[in-house]
């Protein structure tokens, strides 16, 4: 079943066209990745889907409803939540209090919110930092906190904007099972990522955005062999990313 549908989406900032006639669909239970060069419009796409910017044209459908123009908090209540590429922790609050804000969407009691925040922190491996101020977290910690807060709202669709960027390879390797577990728990995931190995290992499908247009879509294996994608973004030798590293590709 289609959970998210984007139809002929255009976003313009004054004279600049950030997104041009973008159409895509995400099915329930999928992990779909959006890749593309800097400035391709990936974050703009997320902002439009999550209600942070109003599309110039086009429609957004979520769970069978037209949600174009709804504010972020309404979409979040419906189960569509985003994280921010540039993390936005509530710096003065502890990790637990940060996560509790997300939990509060579906749970009124503050005591229960703080307790449930613990479980969420465990899922993203942040449990040992629960009572630290968010301002004290490292980059990796802040990325996890973004993820934890979003997860705390009990979403159906999670938009992850570069949650792996800025992490070292060991930290990336640690986050991959976290993302997989989230999907296994029934959450659909649309993610933007520059860390290509991880993208290839994690996602069922990949969308390539170049200059505000969808240049290609396909499985990871198809994408890395697509000449147009190689030319526009990946460069020569990209297919090694899947053949050498992806267990899925090796098994196939």
């Amino acid at each position: 079943m289609t959970l998210l549908g984007v139809e002929h989406l255009c976003v313009r900032f004054g004279g600049l066209t950030a997104l041009e006639d973008v159409c895509l669909a995400v099915d329930e239970g999928e992990i779909v990745a959006v890749i593309g060069p800097n400035g391709a419009g990936k974050t703009t796409l997320f902002a439009a889907i999550s209600g942070f910017s109003r599309p110039t044209a086009g429609r957004i459908r979520f769970a069978g409803r037209d949600v174009t123009g709804l504010p972020p908090h309404r979409l979040c209540a419906m189960g569509l939540v985003r994280t921010f590429q540039v993390t936005r922790p509530f710096a003065d609050l502890t990790v637990r209090e940060n996560i509790a804000v997300g939990v509060h969407l579906r749970h009124r009691s503050p005591r229960r919110a703080r307790a449930l925040a613990e479980g969420v922190a465990e899922r993203v491996r942040l449990a040992d930092r629960l009572d630290q101020p968010a301002a004290a977290l490292t980059v990796a910690g802040r990325k996890r906190l973004e993820l934890a807060r979003a997860l705390a709202t009990e979403p159906r669709l999670l938009l992850l904007d570069e949650v792996l960027a800025g992490l070292n390879p060991a930290e990336v390797a640690e986050m991959e099972p976290v993302v997989r577990d989230i999907r296994a728990s029934g959450v659909t995931i649309l993610l933007v990522e520059h860390v290509l190995q991880a993208v290839m290992r994690l996602s069922d499908r990949v969308l390539v955005l170049v200059g505000g247009r969808l240049a290609a879509t396909g499985t990871p294996a198809e994408i890395v062999r697509d000449p147009a994608v190689i030319e526009a973004y990946l460069g020569e030798g990209a297919d090694r990313l899947v053949t050498a590293e992806s267990p899925r590709a090796r098994g196939a």
Binding site: V81, F84, P89, F90, H104
Partner: protein, 321 residues
């Protein structure tokens, strides 16, 4: 001291302060106490919106004055009793808050823009009060002296002392309830980062409206108390900028966003104000100079206010043990 300890300390302070005028026979002390409780309650009103919610108002005089004029006009011009006037004043504060909230939050005004809008509202109300006949224009309003509990006037100043203490305690309990609730968590989230909060399902507009309604009603109750105590009101007293400054100074000095901060700040500032008045031999404005200096020092060296200082000390002690 952590915030929860601070709250308890503030409540204990109020309980201990209650019988004080009956133990120590001093009119100065009673008046001092009244001024502290009044400033603390006004500060707490500001604190809920500005400290917890990060919406810095520079015009809390609008609420204070609306409350003061509402009860004064109702009593003088319409023969309404003081108690009903008091509750009507609280309602009037909420109505003014509704108008200011809609006029600014609906249009996403934040930061200095919001501060300016609140300031403008207070000034407009001051000018209106200065012109209209019903408010007594520049002459102001004088309430007849008529002591009696049913008229909310006391021949013995200690009655006012208890009433002010009660208002202060009530404001503290309300702030504590807010801080410990979902609304409080959301207010703080909006203060820290509005976009991130809305991404997590928080409706910033709804949250800010609730805070300003509560804040406005609370500040208006202080205005109504002022009228009962001094029995006189004019546009400057009600809507002048010194009221707005007093509202924000206490919580900023005491610890913005903390429940105990406004009381601690009000106490310190009143103390300093009295001291400077005594030292300056009653030169008017001496206390304002001292307030200014204190504010500069606090902002420069103690951004968390007294509460921040207490917390830092506790953390150092905790780390040392």
């Amino acid at each position: 001291m952590n915030p929860a300890q601070g709250e308890r300390a503030a409540l204990v302070f109020l309980v201990l302060a209650a019988p004080l005028p009956w133990l120590v026979d001093s009119g100065t002390l009673v008046h001092f106490g009244i001024m502290v409780f009044q400033a603390a309650t006004l500060g707490q009103a500001w604190n809920i919106l500005g400290g917890m919610g990060g919406q810095f108002s520079f015009g809390h005089a609008a609420f204070f004055g609306a409350g003061a004029y509402t009860t004064a006009i109702l009593q003088l011009r319409f023969g309404v009793d003081a108690w009903s006037g008091f509750f009507a004043a609280i309602l009037a504060g909420a109505v003014v808050a509704l108008v200011i909230g809609l006029a600014s939050f609906r249009f996403g005004l934040r930061g200095s823009y919001f501060a300016l809008v609140t300031l403008a509202f207070a000034e407009v109300l001051r000018i209106l009060a200065n012109t209209l006949e019903i408010t007594g224009a520049g002459v102001g309003l004088l309430l007849p002296l008529a002591p009696g509990l049913e008229r909310l006037q006391f021949a013995d100043r200690r009655g006012y002392y208890l009433l002010a203490l009660f208002l202060c305690a009530a404001s503290l309990l309300v702030a504590r309830a807010v801080a410990g609730s979902r609304l409080g968590a959301r207010l703080v989230a909006v203060r820290e980062n509005e976009e991130a909060a809305s991404a997590l399902g928080v409706d910033p507009f709804a949250v800010k409206m609730r805070a300003i309604l509560l804040s406005g009603a609370m500040a208006a109750s202080v205005g109504a108390f002022y009228v009962q105590y001094f029995l006189y009101l004019d546009p400057h007293i009600a809507f002048g900028p010194q009221v707005s400054v007093e509202a924000l100074l206490g919580p900023i000095v005491g610890g913005p966003g903390t429940v105990a901060g406004p009381l601690a700040g009000a106490f310190l500032l009143q103390l300093l104000g009295e001291a400077s008045r005594a030292l300056a031999g009653g030169a008017t404005g001496a206390n304002l100079v001292v307030y200014g200096i204190v504010l500069i020092l606090i902002v420069r060296f103690l951004p968390g206010g007294l509460a921040g200082l207490a917390r830092a000390r506790a953390e150092r002690a905790g780390a040392g043990s």
